[in-house]
């Protein structure tokens, strides 16, 4: 590049324009104004009985299928309520809610993540509504003959687990610890559905998932019940987020989940009673 030929004219030019330089404070002020303009809040819909409102539910990934059914049921019962759902690992949802994500209802796959939010008064009191146990997920037909937890540690078996922060990871660690199996998984996933995908796609040979995940994906994965599975039970609490602008609708959803109808929908999906 012809660097040298440019340096001197630029300097001279700079001398000419110096008195017209941008005022940095004005630029900063303008950018802040822009940011604020972007962030203009949408008018919050009032939580009155019949006004159309959108209820935002943050729920553990393992609840995805059954909460879609329950959300549809809520809209059938209350046509003014539309439901938006966000399914992810409970710990991811906890971070999002504590950073101010606009959730109304939070359902976790363990009490630890719920307690983390409750400790900061970000959620109201919670109710247990279901429970779940672990299964070994394998490819349909179980081609590698994986029947026990120690089979997961076999050198020819690619195993994936949930990360220890997410409820299924905590439960998996307890289950493996109880059985005295040490395991270095090929990957630690941030939600149980990611483990399901890895096994269903054949990326991994086996993984620990919930019994309900096996039930929800009958054609893609097969479940093996490991010894001691019944001793490690994941309890699911549900609550209203403190900042919710739709507390009444949130309560309606929680009432539905706890009602006999809601409980039978959960049971049909393979969830155990709380």
């Amino acid at each position: 590049m012809n660097r040298f030929s440019q340096v001197s004219p630029r300097r001279r030019h700079h001398g000419v324009t110096a008195h017209h330089r941008f005022a940095p404070t004005a630029v900063v002020a303008a950018s802040l104004a822009l940011l604020a303009g972007c962030a203009a809040p949408t008018p919050a819909s009032s939580p009155t009985a019949q006004a159309p409102q959108t209820l935002t539910i943050y729920a553990a990934a393992s609840l995805s299928g059954v909460f879609d059914t329950l959300a549809a049921q809520l809209t059938t019962d209350n046509p003014s309520i539309t439901v938006e759902t966000n399914y992810d690992g409970s710990s991811t949802l906890v971070t999002q809610i504590s950073e101010g994500a606009p959730a109304d209802v939070f359902a976790s796959a363990d009490t630890r993540n719920m307690d983390a939010l409750a400790a900061d008064n970000l959620v109201g009191p919670s109710m247990l509504f279901a429970s779940n146990t672990l299964r070994i997920a394998v490819a349909p037909g179980n081609p590698l003959g994986i029947n026990t937890l120690s089979d997961l540690a076999r050198p020819n078996v690619i195993s994936v687990l949930c990360a220890p922060q997410v409820p299924c990871g905590t439960a998996s660690a307890t289950l493996l610890g109880n059985a005295g199996v040490t395991l270095s998984p090929a990957s630690e996933e941030q939600s149980v559905t990611a483990v399901v995908t890895k096994v269903a796609e054949g990326i991994a040979d086996a993984g620990l998932v919930y019994a309900t995940d096996i039930a929800a994906n009958p054609d893609r994965i097969e479940g093996v019940t490991p010894a001691g599975a019944a001793d490690v039970v994941a309890h699911y609490p549900i609550t209203i987020v403190s900042d919710s602008a739709h507390a009444a609708a949130a309560q309606a959803f929680i009432d539905l989940v706890l009602s006999p109808k809601g409980q039978s929908i959960l049971a049909a999906a393979g969830f155990l009673a709380p």
Binding site: Q6, H13, S64, E84, N86, E201
Partner: protein, 260 residues
Amino acid sequence: MIPRLLYIPASIGLALLIVPLAGLLLRVDWAGLPALLLSKEALEPLGLSLVTAFISTILCLLLGVPLAVVIARSTPRVAGLLRALVTVPLVLPPLVGGIALLSLLGRTGVLGEYLELVGLRVPFTTAAVVIAQTFVAMPFLVIAVEGALRTMGTRYERVAATLGAHRSTVFARITLPLVLPGLLAGTVLSFARALGEFGATALFAGNQAGVTRTMPLAIYTAFNGSGVTTDQAVALSLLLIAVAVIILVLIGTRRAAVLS
């Protein structure tokens, strides 16, 4: 004249870049593709991505072009410092950008704390998506435009000025037309970068359908997510590849048109 041996690593390199995309194409379920692409799960993120990337690109232009002009016409020392500062987000992993934005604008952030007091909450809104995209995309525009300005020099501008042209006339009639190829390339690059933005968005804006779930987040959700088949992720990826190819073609033809 190059050593023949170079062709071996060169072809491996090319294969590494191209063969995975071919693998993706082989995996596409072409029969089911129209249904997947016309579903709400595909159209909603596509619309959101196009709208947010468009707004981000406009913001990049409004803020980035003046920044590029300031850098290009600063003393070499100041220019070097400014250029280094602008390049930081470019070399930073976008996830770090997301955490940085949260630290500034999050509920407990340096600035977010005060925004909260006046009822403004930026994270987990569509505005957060735009801010994250602008954060990662603007350096591309600034670097491209600044490079073009520097290569161009100031000779024509000075001649125009000595002939009595007003400062704004010089900018509009001399500077802008001369940097147009760089400006176009920078615009297209920042649009593409905004469209593909994942890391900063995931942390700063979250993953809410219709609000912050852009195409990359929809692909991630479809692949790692709930009950949705990975076919959806493949279909959405195909859509982004198509957009990327269109963008490349646009750059190619536009640049040729500008240069001719």
